[in-house]
Symmetry: C2
Subunit: 128 residues, 2 copies
């Protein structure tokens, strides 16, 4: 029943950044879990639908998932080198998006915001 889904969820929780479905699948298998790729996809979808994990799309169209600390609305600051992710709240952005929408007569405004950068550690590693 939920054991597989929990396994998927746990795997995500143990990860620092966003992981792809295939990634999670490989991890579970190497951990000795008996699970199929199909089930991993289904579990990830179910978790995402239930708001238990966050999804976003890579630049090359891959879906990546993450178990986030909060289920409140937030955005991500992702290191493009090591994938480390920081959850950030952005009241200013929320307000801006709302204002921009209203200004042009748009209603039911939603938005996607992701910030990418090189984290301090990776910057040091690169420089040193």
């Amino acid at each position: 029943m939920t054991s597989r889904r929990d396994a998927v969820h746990d795997t995500l929780r143990r990860s620092d950044g966003f992981r792809s479905a295939q990634d999670v699948y490989a991890q579970l298998r190497s951990d000795g879990a008996k699970i199929g790729l199909t089930t991993v996809y289904r579990a990830l979808q179910a978790l995402a639908d239930g708001g238990l994990i966050d999804v976003l799309r890579t630049d090359d169209g891959e879906s990546v998932y993450r178990a986030c600390a909060t289920d409140a609305h937030h955005h991500h600051l992702v290191c493009r080198r090591c994938g480390r992710t920081v959850e950030v709240a952005g009241p200013a952005v929320e307000r801006w998006a709302e204002a921009v929408g209203a200004e042009h007569g748009f209603s039911e405004v939603t938005h996607t915001v992701e910030v990418f950068g090189t984290c301090a550690d990776c910057a040091t590693a690169k420089a040193g």
Copy 2:
């Protein structure tokens, strides 16, 4: 040479919102153009690389393209019903992204921001 690329570019310019590659291809064909899907993809990539058009990913992973009025950095306010797109500048967001990155020690900060909503016309159409 560039004739096919120009045809692709023109097709985008004639469109109001973001169009998918296959979309552009279908349009060109129905316009009587003799062009292959491969070439459309290549043209779109070339145009995107050259900064002549903007690319973004749909929620279902499809790449969509748009000929934008300016090549300066800007974001989009897209009607989720009719696809109509307004280009918006967001100095506040730029600053916010930069600040958030700096706050967590991230450098070379970039960001993706897209705003979706229902435009006035579509809202009226729905209500009426």
